[in-house]
């Protein structure tokens, strides 16, 4: 019987469930995030018609611009899955490349969101203008913060990869960031449809 089997490198193979604790923890976290975003989305749905003196959603939303942003985030999911695939193969060069591309696409999306918020503000839609504007900024802002955290994690893992190789357990780290990133994309899939495409 081995007593020293619970090391960081082979933790996945020696848990009571037979599953990686890191991965199980990440899926639990993502499950709880469904409840967080569910609350924010349903609050927006409830208040989207409460515009008061401010502009209506259809007056400020720029569907072509947001469609391009959505496409950028969708493609970042492709580059992320290519990074995870390369990490599992121990292909450091492609892991580094696709992770960097994902971070750039994520930063582009966040930049687009900052531009969009600025345009909305200039059109008279401030944070406290109406219940619609408050719930909109909280929801999309929260998502934007998630994307920003994802970009920071991606840039951090790129920095780590520059110092050491990525095979074995480190590939799971890339996979964890990948799960988070895809979830952020999935949330945007819902936001884009329910908030932007379906008029109030």
């Amino acid at each position: 019987m081995t007593t020293d089997s619970h090391t960081e490198t082979d933790g996945a193979a020696h848990t009571s469930t037979g599953l990686s604790n890191n991965k199980l923890g990440m899926w639990l976290f993502l499950g709880s995030e469904c409840l967080l975003f569910g609350g924010l989305i349903s609050t927006y749905m409830l208040y989207r018609g409460r515009v008061g003196e401010g502009p209506r959603p259809s007056q400020v939303f720029d569907i072509p611009f947001t469609s391009v942003s959505s496409f950028v985030l969708l493609m970042s999911s492709l580059t992320m899955v290519l990074a995870v695939s390369a990490a599992h193969k121990g292909d450091d060069r492609n892991t580094y490349l696709w992770t960097t591309v994902t971070a750039i696409l994520g930063a582009t999306f966040v930049g687009g969101q900052v531009y969009e918020f600025t345009a909305f503000y200039n059109e008279g839609m401030g944070f406290t203008t109406s219940l619609f504007s408050s719930s909109f900024y909280v929801l999309t802002g929260f998502h934007g913060v998630h994307v920003t955290v994802g970009v920071i994690m991606l840039m951090s893992i790129v920095g780590i990869m520059k110092r050491s190789k990525v095979p074995g357990s480190k590939s799971e780290t890339v996979e964890m960031i990948g799960l988070y990133w895809h979830f952020v994309d999935v949330v945007w899939i819902i936001i884009f449809t329910l908030i932007y495409l379906i008029p109030a």
Binding site: L24, S77, L194
Partner: protein
């Protein structure tokens, strides 16, 4: 799954997104809302199943994630119904 497979899936997702945007400009009448919701659900399923590999992982991960999602839908469905959102 191969990298080419991932690219094919991304192309499908991009095509569905293009269809979604098209429905915003084309008058589909009563089909507008159901078609958008179906396309949203399909995109959600594709990303979770193939990009997040949930389809190929342990069933426990699926239970953990979909339980959170199911709870969110039920809890906030009741929340919206309480405030007469659907009427």
């Amino acid at each position: 799954m191969s990298n080419a497979g991932y690219v094919r899936i991304a192309a499908i997702l991009a095509a569905i997104t293009a269809l979604e945007v098209a429905t915003y400009y084309v008058d589909l009448g009563a089909l507008f809302l159901p078609s958008l919701l179906i396309m949203m659900a399909v995109k959600f399923y594709i990303v979770v199943s193939f990009f997040m590999h949930l389809r190929y992982e342990s069933k426990m991960f699926s239970w953990v994630f979909y339980t959170g999602l199911f709870l969110a839908i039920v809890v906030y469905g009741i929340f919206l119904a309480t405030f007469h959102f659907f009427s």
